[in-house]
């Protein structure tokens, strides 16, 4: 019976294929089309970060999902636990789906068409897309999942602690960020950060986001357990 209800939550999310699977790609492909046209008129290769729209979209989905579906699910007597796991499966599936398409398009762009015949670097970018196709797939997947749970975590704070809680969190983050960057500048540590990135591959960096993602997941779960629709 337990798995049954978790499947019910997955089904709930999959009723919304538009938001999870279609809309993000409409956004990305629009950006791609614009860049493709521009690249026709350029002599040099065009490097663009248009693909970031997909990642940002998943952050937004993470933020929105909880407000959209949590009150509904709780109202239909779903356990908070089943909601969490069902959402995890749905988000994991959607992340994998987009990561696979990203990787395929990167392959077509870089290996097959040499920048869509017009020197456009949209899906395959230096440093970010280094490594085998499998590595690229893992990188995209983990980044998308990380952004989803960043958004999910933010709304989780709102659900659990309300407007005031989210406000407090935002201010705390702002202060910490300011202090952090001040110290970094003061101690001239920014160079070290750049060195770190140069010494590590994108893949290694992405693996470091995994523990962050897991922490966001665990904190979201802990907050949902005490959240009231």
């Amino acid at each position: 019976m337990t798995t049954n209800r978790m499947q019910g939550v997955i089904r709930l999310h999959m009723k919304d294929k538009m938001n999870w699977l279609v809309t993000p790609w409409i956004v990305v492909l629009c950006s791609f089309a614009v860049n493709l046209v521009i690249s026709q008129f350029m002599e040099a290769d065009l490097y663009t970060g248009g693909v970031a729209s997909l990642y940002i979209y998943m952050l937004v989905i993470g933020i929105v999902t909880l407000t959209h579906t949590f009150p509904f699910a709780i109202g239909f007597n779903v356990r908070r636990k089943d909601y969490f796991w069902g959402t995890l499966v749905a988000a994991g599936g959607a992340s994998l789906y987009s990561a696979v398409i990203l990787t395929l398009l990167s392959y077509v762009e870089y290996d097959l068409t040499d920048g869509w015949g017009s020197g456009l670097n949209f899906f395959h970018l230096p440093y970010l897309s280094d490594g085998s196709l499998f590595v690229q797939l893992v990188v995209s997947f983990l980044l998308i999942l990380n952004l989803f749970y960043t958004g999910f975590f933010i709304t989780g704070i709102f659900k659990r602690f309300g407007r005031a809680g989210l406000f407090t969190f935002a201010i705390a983050l702002l202060i910490l960020g300011t202090v952090f960057s001040f110290i970094m500048t003061q101690q001239e540590w920014w160079v070290n950060v750049i060195d770190w990135f140069n010494a590590h591959t994108m893949f290694e960096f992405t693996l470091w986001t995994l523990p962050v993602t897991v922490v966001f997941m665990l904190l979201s779960y802990a907050m949902l357990r005490r959240a009231t629709a």
């Binding site: 919304d16 007597n77 356990r79 009231t228 629709a229």
Partner: protein
């Protein structure tokens, strides 16, 4: 009959107010309950507590013998339909029904779609585009088709016309006869549902005012009508809940069962006696100023 809900000294406090205070009651299997009371009395809060959608400040809740919080054995057997239920904005009526089918183990698909036809609901229309009455109808369909052993309807028919409401009562009774379950009905339209209710729980100001079989409630009070002077002499020394005068006629509602002495007295005075309806009783019991309520309830 076995007890399926046991609420013991349940309390829910917010910063400045006790929404529910020291409420204890039990619900038995396969009965229709009316949970009645004024707006803000605490009925909805109690129902949210029963389904662990909010958390109690004090007291104990057992549903199907266990605590409901994060307990799928309990939660999957309850269907709680409330007026304020939120739906995902992208959902159409059909989506809600299909998701409900996956969440309620005893869901009857055929029954659900026959109800959709009864209520003339457009399956493909988005929930956000439904009228208030149609939105209520979706809730009613989910509540009925879920066949949950404990089905709770909280103000289920806001915006529904009289035809749709009687359709709801008919389908509810028909399906209840074939698939007995425990039903809790909370509503302001007490007269309409009073014939269905087997047991009444009356909540006022967060407290339990009455917890009685509907039949017994019939004898809790009666009205007497007649010329003012005669009615007044009859009412002397009795607990009068309400008094209404029009011209030379007075109607009083008297608390307590009418004994044979009372009947004789009324007869000799030429007064007309009638049992008070459930709705009148509830209005009398909960209509006064806050200080009066408790005194009346004694």
């Amino acid at each position: 009959m076995s007890t399926i809900v046991k609420v013991d000294r349940l309390t829910k406090s917010y910063k400045d107010i006790d929404a529910v205070k020291d409420v204890s009651f039990t619900l038995e299997e396969n009965k229709i309950y009316g949970m009645l009371g004024r707006n803000g009395a605490g009925k909805t809060t109690i129902m949210h507590l029963l389904t662990a959608q909010i958390f109690p400040t004090g007291g104990d809740i057992q549903v199907f013998g266990e605590a409901p919080y994060e307990n799928d054995r309990v939660l999957s057997r309850i269907c709680f339909i409330k007026e304020s239920q939120k739906y995902p904005t992208t959902f159409a009526v059909r989506d809600v029904l299909e998701v409900a089918a996956g969440l309620f183990p005893k869901w009857d698909r055929e029954f659900a779609y026959s109800l959709v036809e009864d209520f003339r609901l457009p399956l493909k229309r988005k929930m956000t585009k439904l009228s208030r009455g149609m939105l209520s109808a979706v809730g009613i369909i989910v509540g009925l088709a879920s066949r949950a052993p404990l089905t709770i309807f909280d103000e289920p028919y806001l915006g529904l016309d009289a035809v749709a409401r009687s359709l709801f009562y008919d389908r509810l009774l028909e399906d209840y006869a074939e698939h007995p379950r425990t039903i809790v009905l909370s509503t302001h339209l007490i007269d309409e549902v009073s014939r269905m209710l087997e047991h009444v729980i009356l909540i006022d100001g967060g407290k339990l005012l009455l917890d009685e079989e509907a039949e017994q409630l019939q004898g809790r009070a009666y009205t007497v009508v007649g010329s003012s002077s005669k009615v007044e002499s009859f009412a002397a020394g009795k607990r009068v809940l309400a008094r209404e005068s029009m011209g030379g006629l007075t109607t009083v509602t008297v608390m307590g069962g009418a004994g044979s002495d009372d009947r004789k007295q009324a007869l000799t005075l030429g007064l007309e006696m009638a049992p008070v309806t459930l709705q009148q009783l509830v209005v009398h019991l909960t209509g006064g100023k806050p200080e009066h309520k408790e005194a009346k309830a004694q």
